[in-house]
Structure formats: C-alpha cells, structure tokens
C-alpha cells in the first residue's frame, strides 16, 4: 500500500483517511426511489402473470398446468423484449423489479448469448446462454437435492 517505499513528495493522506473521504464523496444508490420503482414494476409483472394463469384456468387448464404454461410464456416475453433491445431500458428504471421475476431470468440468458453471437454459435451463443442462468441452476438444483435427502431421512 502507498507511502511505505515511495520517494517523497507523497500525497498527504492516509489509507484510512482516503477511504473515509471517498465514502463521503461517492453518491449513494437511491435505495428508496429504486425500491418504489421495483415494487411497481415487479408487482405489475406478477399481476400480468396472475391474469394469464386465471385466463388459462378459465380456458380449461388445471391450475398447476396453467402456472407452468404461464412461466413458459413469461420466459418467452422476457427473451423477446431482450432481443428487441427494450429489456435493458426497463431494467435501468425498475432494477430488481425486472431482474427478480422470471422474465429477468430470461433476460439474463438471452443478453450474453446475443452479445457473444459474433463469436460463433457453439462457443459464443451455446456457451454463453448459461453465464448467469448456470449459477442459478447449479445452486437451485443442489439445494433441492440436499432438501430431498434430508427429507428422505426425516421421513424414513
């Protein structure tokens, strides 16, 4: 770190002092404003999802099937809006409101794949589809396996 072996003149500020100075001068994220926006956009996406489920149930699907089908439709919508270059604009405004719903999951799959298309379809698109989705699946599936094993030993 600075100051130990440096030939003088040196800047007249210690590491600790600079950390404090930097923290005080760096603008903080506008957490409250971001949270309000996240609430509305996230809530809206879930509201749309709920109406889709309801419509599919009215159309005759069983509730869990309707839920699964809605997930697929939302994934498609998130992917499409990413391709159209719209999803990043929504994300800038809504933050977690567009990242947390499953549409955000679709965005995190399409965005890197789109970007790396110029590096080819196998190592570009193919490999990059799972840059963000990969960790989600790894940790989600691992947790479910651990849950299953614990459940088995508690049951039997």
């Amino acid at each position: 770190m600075p100051g130990e072996k440096l030939r003088p003149p040196n800047v007249n500020i210690t590491l600790e002092e600079y950390k404090n100075l930097s923290t005080s001068m760096t603008p903080k994220p506008t957490a409250l404003r971001n949270s309000v926006r996240a609430f509305f956009v996230g809530g809206l996406i879930c509201l749309i999802g709920q109406m889709m489920i309801n419509l599919l149930v009215i159309a005759g699907l069983e509730r869990t099937e309707a839920s699964t089908a809605t997930t697929a439709i939302l994934i498609f919508s998130g992917a499409l809006l990413t391709g159209l270059g719209v999803y990043d604009e929504i994300g800038k405004f809504a933050g977690a409101g567009s990242i947390i719903p499953v549409t955000g999951f679709a965005n995190s799959i399409v965005a890197p794949a789109l970007e790396f298309k110029r590096e080819g379809y196998v190592l570009g698109v193919g490999a990059r589809l799972f840059t963000v989705a990969g960790p989600v699946l790894v940790y989600g599936i691992m947790t479910s396996i651990v849950v299953g094993i614990i459940y088995y030993f508690l049951r039997f």
């Binding site: 800047v11 007249n12 600079y18 760096t26 990043d88 955000g104």
Partner: protein, 335 residues
C-alpha cells in the same frame, strides 16, 4: 551524457516537439454532447456498418490516425513510429490498426491514460533524437468495454451513480521535430498508487490518488503552482474522482481552483444519463484533439497540463477481490 530530467519524475524537452495536427472520431452520443462541434468526425451509430463493435473500434482508430496524418501534410514514410493503445485485451484494436498503417509500431497500455502516455513517450523519442515524426493514437468503445469488463449490453442491470460511461471514439495526433503548432514542453511519468478501492463501479475514486500524486510531483519537480497553467485537465476522473483529486491535492499543499477540470466531466452533459461522466482512452484523446487543441491554436490557452488517468485492473483481478490500482501521467503543452 546530457540528462533532460528535472526533479524526481519529470523530463523537460530541449527542443519541444510540435503537435502538427490532431484528429478525433466519435460515436453519436459524444456528437450530441456539449463538445459535439469540436470533433472532426461523428459516426451515425456505434457499429458504423462493421460486423462487430471490435472491428468498428479498430476502424475508428485507423480513421483518426489517417486523419491526423493527412492534416499534418506529412507522408506515411516520414513517420518513424506509430504509438497506440486501447482498452481491449492484448490491445487488439491497436494491433489491427497497426496492421493497416504499416508503420513501426510501439503498443502501449495505460488504460485510460494511454493518450498522455503516448504523447510523453512520443515526445521523448523525438527530443532524444530517435525520431523525426511520431503518430500517436488511442481508441475506446462503449460496447466493447462493457462486454469485456462488465456485463452484456442488453442485460437489464442498474448502473451505480459513481459509474462512468466509456467514450466511443478515437483520437490521434502527429508529433514532429519541427513545424508550427502547440509544443509539448515537459512530461511527468506517474507511478502506480493503490488506495484500496475495490469497487469497479467507482473508477474515479480508484484513480484520484495516483493523479494527485503525479500532479504533486510535477509541480514539485518544476517548482510551479497551478496558477502557472491556464488549464489543468485530467483524463477521466469523472465528477467523483475530480472532487477527490482536488481534495487530496489541497491536503498535500497544492491548491487548485476552477482551472482544474476533467475530460470525462466535459464530454457529456447531465441530460445524457452518464452518471459520473465519461471514461475510456478516447475520453482524454478526443477532448484534447478537438476542444483543447483548438483553444491552444487560438492562444486562448497558453499553457495546459493534461493529466491522463488510468485504472490498471483486469476483469479477473476484480473477481478475485483485488483492489484497483491507478496511475496518472502529466504532459505540458504550450501554445
């Protein structure tokens, strides 16, 4: 052996090299900014008909260098060295541009301080008697930088308020042993300083101490004060970094006033949603090649200190939890 050094880190040129010409190419966002009219060429979009952003960046660098060469009235075989650098891995934009230009090539990496570094090294080559004419150029591109350092461009992430926007552009100039134009009179090569900033969204905070250190040593070496300069301009400290650098300098006994500005702050206006300002190699290059050169030529500025600022991290080092080291290089240009 005559040494042209003064103090600890500064060289003073015996026959100050002349900046014969300068040329800047920028993307549409920069063209819409407050300095839009000072750039030589504004591209219609960030791809400009090329098959990838990387190719577009390399072609921008070529265009800037060809432009500077043409305006200098020199022929290609009168240029002894091409000095170039950019932000991409293996400075690939510069490598491909060098392939086209066909000149003896010295590749440089100083992150966003590469323009100042190139001007310093180029001037040393000329004043040291190793070159008659040198072509210096740097480039950066918002989309190539985003995909290498941060996230894919279509990903819906929110950027931090301290984050900066990489300038899409390329700037170039021709340095010569003789001719008319503003002259590079001195250069101070900086040393790397790391004050522990781990937040890659706060580049200004990471670079400010190093830039302050270079300016401090520059003033000390030449026994000058900020009042001796019409303009002191850093490369891309951004709003946050500029305030930090000013404060660190103040505590070190160097009082700067309104004459200390920053290219990253100058290149965009607040309505362009760039948060803390512009960044990238091209930031200092295009602002210097355009606005500042024009004011030097018209003698509005008589003595300018360009303090390029660079953040010397890599995408891997930040994932490994390392902090971001910074560097600053200072060049004196006189009208």
């Amino acid at each position: 052996m005559i040494y042209k050094r003064q103090g600890n880190q500064t060289v003073v040129f015996e026959n100050p090299p002349v900046i014969l010409s300068s040329y800047s190419v920028v993307g549409p966002k920069e063209g819409k900014g407050p300095l839009g009219k000072t750039f030589s060429k504004v591209l219609p979009d960030s791809l400009n008909g090329n098959k990838s952003w990387e190719v577009a960046e390399s072609k921008m660098l070529e265009a800037a260098m060809q432009g500077a060469l043409e305006q200098s009235r020199l022929k290609s075989d009168e240029i002894d060295y091409m000095l170039a650098g950019d932000l991409l891995n293996q400075i690939i934009s510069s490598n491909f541009a060098a392939r086209t230009m066909g000149l003896p090539f010295i590749g440089l990496y100083g992150a966003c301080s590469t323009m100042a570094l190139g001007m310093a090294v180029g001037s040393m080559l000329i004043d040291g008697g190793f070159a008659r004419n040198v072509l210096v150029g740097v480039s950066s591109h918002h989309d190539t930088a985003e995909r290498q350092y941060r996230s894919p461009t279509e990903q819906g992430n929110q950027r931090a308020m301290s984050a900066q926007w990489t300038v899409t552009g390329a700037g170039s100039l021709v340095l010569a042993q003789s001719g008319t134009g503003p002259r590079v009179t001195a250069a101070t090569i900086g040393r790397v300083l790391d004050f522990g900033e781990k937040n890659v969204n706060n580049m200004g905070g990471a670079m400010a101490p190093a830039v302050a250190d270079t300016i401090l040593n520059h003033m000390n070496d030449l026994k000058r004060t900020p009042a001796d300069y019409d303009l002191i301009v850093s490369g891309d400290l951004g709003q946050v970094g500029l305030m930090l650098a000013k404060e660190v300098l103040k505590r070190s006994g160097v009082e700067t006033a309104n004459q200390f500005n920053d290219c990253g702050v100058m290149i965009y206006d607040s309505g362009q949603d760039v948060h803390a300002g512009g960044s990238g190699c091209a930031c200092s290059a295009v602002v210097f090649a355009g606005d500042i050169m024009q004011k030097l030529n018209s003698k509005q500025y008589k003595r300018v200190l360009l303090a390029g600022s660079g953040a010397l991290h890599s995408p891997t080092s930040s994932l490994q939890g390392e902090s971001v080291p910074g560097i600053g290089h200072a060049i004196v240009i006189e009208a």
